[in-house]
C-alpha cells in the first residue's frame, strides 16, 4: 500500500495551521498577506491531493480495463 492515512492528517494539519495564521494576520492588520497565506495553503494541499487522485484513477482504470 503506497498511500496511508498520514496524508489525511497532514492535510487537516495544514488546514488548521492556515486557519490560525489567517486569524493572526487579520488581527494584526495584514489582510493582504493573510489572503496569500490561505491561497498558499490551498495550493500545497491541492498538490498533495492531485497526486492521490491520479493514483486513484490509474487504479480504477487498470482494474476495470479502461484505456
Amino acid at each position: 500500500m503506497s498511500v496511508s492515512i498520514d496524508l489525511v492528517f497532514k492535510i487537516a494539519a495544514i488546514g488548521i495551521l492556515v486557519a490560525v495564521l489567517y486569524q493572526l494576520l487579520v488581527r494584526s492588520g495584514r489582510e493582504d498577506i493573510a489572503t496569500m497565506v490561505s491561497i498558499a495553503g490551498l495550493i500545497i494541499v491541492l498538490i498533495m491531493v492531485v497526486d492521490l487522485v491520479s493514483e486513484l484513477f490509474t487504479t480504477v482504470k487498470s482494474i476495470f480495463g479502461l484505456y
Binding site: I5, G41, V53, L56, S62, F64
Partner: protein, 127 residues
C-alpha cells in the same frame, strides 16, 4: 480486521473535515477527497481479485466475454464519475456535479452502443 480499519479511517477523516470546515471549507473538501481515495485504494486489491474472477468466469462462455468487458468498463467509468459527483455535491456545487454526471452518461452510452448493435443483429437474425 480490514473493515474496522476502514471505518476508523472514515470516522477520523470525517471529524477532521468537520473541524477544518468552519475556517476553510476548501481544505475540508480536500480532506474528504484524500480519505475517499485512501479507502478505495485499501480495497482495490480485493476488488481487482473479484474482477479478475469475473473475467476468467466469462472467458468460459465465448459470446459472453465481450459483454462482460463492456460492463466492467461501464462500472469503472461510473465509479470515477460518481467520485467526482459526490465530492462536488458535498461542496455545494450541485450544478457542476450534474454536468459531470451527464458527461459520464454520454460516454457510457457510446460504450454500450456496439453491444446494442450486436443485440439487434442477433434478434433480427432470429426473425
Amino acid at each position: 480486521m480490514e473493515v474496522a480499519k476502514i471505518a476508523a479511517i472514515g470516522l477520523i477523516a470525517g471529524i477532521l473535515a468537520v473541524t477544518v470546515k468552519k475556517t476553510n471549507p476548501e481544505i475540508a473538501m480536500q480532506v474528504s477527497i484524500g480519505a475517499g481515495v485512501i479507502i478505495f485504494i485499501m480495497v482495490a486489491g480485493e476488488l481487482a481479485d473479484a474482477v479478475e474472477f469475473i473475467r476468467s468466469f466469462a472467458e468460459e462462455y465465448q459470446s459472453f466475454s465481450e459483454g462482460v468487458g463492456t460492463v466492467l468498463k461501464v462500472v469503472g467509468i461510473a465509479y470515477i464519475a460518481e467520485f467526482a459527483v459526490q465530492i462536488l455535491k458535498d461542496a455545494g456545487e450541485s450544478a457542476l456535479s450534474s454536468k459531470v454526471e451527464i458527461a459520464a452518461k454520454v460516454i457510457i452510452m457510446l460504450l454500450t452502443l456496439p453491444l446494442l448493435h450486436s443485440f439487434a443483429e442477433m434478434v433480427f437474425g432470429l426473425l
